[in-house]
């Protein structure tokens, strides 16, 4: 019989307010094998852990039950404490009496009763626990960054600087992401391209960084330290090695009708194109949906003018496979579709989004930075910004969250207009102006106080395009009046959302995603850059709305965590893996079919589990009809003992 110690935590009032911990201790003392039981306000504290260590020695404990918070929180803490006391760490069982017990029960009687039952189940299990010993697995010292915006670039640069090779996979023809499209950046108004392009060039030139632009993730296998990932390099129809980036091809291309993605569709581009002048790599791609040669076999003008013979019309997609120790998701965002927001008349050329305004005010943009109405090319007499379009929107068509960047970029836009064209009147409709951040509120106040931007608290119900101008049916809440405001140009601060493809990438990596398609972090406070899936890390807006300073800070934090993983030569593997008992195995091979990790081999009538691949999910154990497959640490006997104890 084991000698078991039971320790019940108050967790301050988190547990003790709805659970009578003394009663739980008293009940535990009556269980078979329990030679010691005690309670303590904070078991996770040093004093609490020492109490457990001392008790192991004093009472000769061979098993420990901790009734406290979720094992996700402190299982490791208590296992380490047990190890310090000389116990095998897997002789510790956690009974979670907080998250699924004290937090959800209001009645102390119910909470106490449930805590007693859960503790009893853990005691029953620990009776059958056996010492387990973790194995080791190798770490491939190479990282993969998915997404080549500022988040991905910064993470890659930091990892590369630490001496590890990094690959960046970017779906568009150039790295740079959204930041490359921006004009100025808040709160310093420095030029976005001027601070981004050196980083783009650094990334391309770094000996440890390999760029895969115009590429996508095709397949993911493996696990932390040992991912095998297939990348599809989409056919560019241009030879990267031969191309000199002279640009003659797109000057000659007769197709001039494709909407330019980089210019937000404000102007057209050619079929062969580089998205923007500072693109990295500076190698064009051919849009096969637009190219006459690829569609009909005629034309081929670009091929004729290309002296280095870089045009390759029969180029095919290429698949490359590489091993990685860590994967970083840095896929970024898009503005939401305004299809369901008919009242804002987005179909009018004089109603544009924030990102479109960035291009319109950018010296490298479609108008050379000249602010005009797109309908009649006239200079607007007034420009009106509307905040929170689809953000903080609890109806189904919008997003419930704050997009976080809009208040500040709107203040920036407003200031840029007033600075360049003092005669243009600028209005901003807002719900609240949210400016937490270093020098942010000062920036916003400057736009209102020094630049004379009219901030109007209220929302716009409808925009009516009157041709010469737009009428905004709106309300001034502070003035307490409804008004019809006439303006010449409207900019909608459109909500942002994670790019659509992040769902596919997340599911390939088995990384979790929240209801708004943002990647879920392993812990919202304590593990903000790690995904709950080991070896998968998060960088930038894919995890939640962020501005550039925050994105760069997070990208660095992510890199630090990745470096922390890559410097290790070996990883300790989870010893809770599946094991097949040959005597019971009837050779049906059902387990091989349910294993998501391909860890079970079937050989001549019996199965064999590859411990390095097994992740301990337990799918095989529940599938096995003869009970031959068992999960160590969660054996059928242990689970049944828990159920029996609960039902007793």
């Amino acid at each position: 019989m084991k000698r078991i110690g039971v320790f019940v935590c108050h967790c301050g009032t988190n547990i003790a307010a709805t659970v009578d911990v003394v009663k739980v201790v008293e009940a535990a003392k009556l269980e078979p094998g329990v030679v010691h039981a005690a309670e303590y306000p904070y078991l996770c504290s040093e004093a609490g852990q020492n109490m457990i260590i001392k008790a192991v020695d004093e009472f000769g404990l061979t098993g420990v039950v901790v009734s406290a918070c979720s094992p996700r929180m402190h299982e490791t803490t208590f296992r380490k404490a047990a190890a310090k006391a000389g116990l095998n760490p897997f002789m510790v069982e956690i009974s979670n009496i907080r998250e699924q017990c004290s937090w959800i029960h209001k009645d102390s009687k119910d909470g106490t009763e449930k805590s007693i039952i859960l503790t009893r189940a853990a005691i029953a299990k620990v009776h059958l626990n056996e010492p387990l010993h973790p194995g080791e697995s190798k770490v491939t010292k190479r990282a993969l960054v998915i997404g080549g915006g500022i988040a991905g670039i910064q993470t890659a640069l930091d990892i590369a600087e630490a001496g590890f090779p990094v690959d960046i996979v970017e779906s568009t023809p150039s790295i740079g992401g959204k930041m490359a499209q921006l004009d100025k950046t808040f709160p310093t108004l420095d030029c976005s391209a001027c601070i981004l392009t050196p980083k783009m060039v650094d990334a391309a030139a770094h000996e440890n960084i390999t760029l895969h632009t115009y590429s996508e993730i095709e397949k993911v296998e493996g696990f932390v330290g040992d991912f095998t990932i297939t990348i599809r390099k989409k056919a560019r129809y241009v030879d990267m090695k031969n191309c000199t980036g002279c640009g003659l091809c797109y000057e000659k291309c007769p197709v001039k009708k494709a909407p330019s993605e980089f210019e937000q569709g404000l102007i057209k581009r050619t079929a062969i194109y580089t998205p923007f002048a500072q693109a990295v790599p500076n190698v064009p791609v051919i849009d096969k949906t637009q190219c006459i040669k690829l569609k009909t076999g005629k034309c081929g003008l670009c091929e004729k003018v290309c002296t280095p013979k870089a045009i390759v019309f029969d180029q095919q997609d290429e698949l490359i496979t590489e091993k990685y120790g860590a994967v970083i998701i840095a896929t970024g965002y898009d503005q939401i579709s305004l299809e369901k927001f008919g009242e804002y008349s987005y179909n009018s050329p004089d109603v544009i989004t924030g990102l479109e305004f960035e291009r319109l005010t950018n010296a490298a943009g479609p108008t050379g930075g000249d602010l005009i109405r797109l309908s009649d090319k006239k200079k607007p007499r007034s420009v009106t910004f509307i905040q929170c379009i689809g953000s903080r929107d609890t109806s189904k068509r919008g997003k419930p969250y704050c997009s976080k960047i809009c208040c500040m970029y709107t203040a920036k836009h407003a200031m840029l207009i007033r600075d360049k064209y003092p005669q243009i009147e600028v209005n901003v409709f807002y719900i609240d102006v949210r400016t937490p951040g270093k020098n942010f509120d000062e920036f916003y106040r400057r736009s209102a106080e020094e630049y004379g931007v009219n901030y109007i608290k209220g929302q716009v119900g409808k925009i009516i395009d009157q041709g010469e101008f737009l009428t905004l049916q709106s309300v001034d809440m502070l003035g307490g009046k409804r008004m019809d405001l006439q303006t010449d140009l409207v900019v909608l601060a459109t909500a942002i959302e994670p790019v659509k493809s992040v769902r596919i990438i997340a599911s390939m990596l088995t990384a979790s995603i929240d209801t708004n398609n943002f990647m879920t972090e392993a812990h919202p406070k304590l593990k903000p850059v790690e995904s709950p899936t080991a070896g998968v890390f998060l960088s930038g807006v894919c995890q939640g709305p962020k501005d550039i300073p925050e994105t760069v800070a997070q990208a660095g934090a992510t890199a630090a965590k990745v470096i922390g993983l890559l410097v290790k030569d070996k990883l300790m593997t989870n010893p809770c893996t599946a094991e097949s008992n040959e005597k019971f195995c009837n050779g049906c091979s059902a387990c091989t079919k349910v294993c998501p990790y391909g860890a079970i081999a079937y050989d001549d009538g019996i199965v064999h589990v590859n411990k390095a691949l097994c992740q301990g999910c337990g799918a095989c154990a529940v599938t096995c009809p003869s009970g031959a497959m068992d999960l160590q640490g969660f054996s059928n006997r242990q689970l049944m003992a828990e159920v029996d104890a609960i039902c007793r």
Binding site: K340, F341, G342, E343, K462, I464, Q466
Partner: protein
């Protein structure tokens, strides 16, 4: 296809032509409108007061009758549609059912009837493709704006007629008849409703804005499903507005 039919008062008086055209078109399109017996005025929008019960009874009787016949209840007037559909929703509430019983315990009704607009019959039961086939006089070259008003669209969670900000059903209908559908931002704005009885100037102003906006966007004519909208908008300067049924009858060749 047989539907219970609730014409409503206006279609029996001021807007008689809407009723006549609807019946003729239904015949051509292969569905039957069976007028329910002894229907009474739905009360227009007055029963919408949240503490009203007595004035809702006539609508409940109509809904109940359709339920007894096991038919969907079709109506054309935007106000009737609005009132019937919302009261139908109210009747899913147990408290409301109890209160209604204290007035008339024969009304064993819990919101079972499906209230559908004539336009929805064209969309969902006939199909706009089939409507296009049946069109004998396509309205070619006619630039027509659909004026929705507010009663068909809001509150959208209950009415669920179309997207309240960017409705398309009337436009699709117009295209099926061969016309050019002109969308204009004020097509779902309020015409002022009963304000025209007390503040004629205000009402005229609102109607003028709607018509001016439609004309600016290229509409030559407006269509509506709402008698009150027609009454108000017709008074605007340069207004030309008809019930949608008139154009439908014209296109199907059944207009006398």
């Amino acid at each position: 296809m047989v539907f219970s039919y609730y014409p409503g008062c206006t279609l029996s008086t001021q807007a008689k032509e809407m009723d006549v055209h609807a019946r003729k078109c239904a015949e051509v399109l292969g569905f039957t409108l069976e007028e329910i017996d002894d229907w009474q005025c739905c009360g227009a929008v007055y029963p919408m007061g949240s503490d009203e019960v007595a004035s809702k009874l006539s609508a409940i009787r109509a809904l109940h009758q359709a339920k007894e016949k096991g038919q969907d209840l079709v109506t054309l007037c935007a106000a009737c549609y609005h009132v019937l559909k919302r009261i139908n929703e109210d009747m899913k509430n147990k408290e409301m059912q109890k209160t209604v019983h204290t007035y008339d315990n024969s009304l064993d009704y819990h919101g079972e009837t499906k209230v559908i607009h004539f336009m929805e019959v064209l969309q969902k039961h006939v199909g706009f493709d089939k409507l296009k086939e049946k069109t004998v006089n396509p309205l070619k070259g006619r630039k027509i704006g659909a004026y929705y008003g507010c009663m068909l669209l809001r509150p959208s969670s209950i009415l669920a007629f179309d997207d309240p900000e960017n409705p398309q059903i009337f436009e699709t209908f117009l295209k099926a008849l061969g016309a050019e559908a002109v969308e204009f931002p004020r097509r779902n704005e309020c015409c002022g409703g009963y304000i025209s009885l007390k503040q004629k100037e205000k009402s005229r102003e609102m109607a003028n804005e709607i018509v001016e906006n439609a004309v600016r966007n290229g509409a030559e004519t407006l269509i509506t499903a709402c008698p009150l909208c027609l009454y108000n908008v017709a008074k605007a300067e340069g207004s030309s507005i008809y019930y949608f049924t008139k154009l439908l009858a014209e296109a199907l060749g059944v207009k006398e």
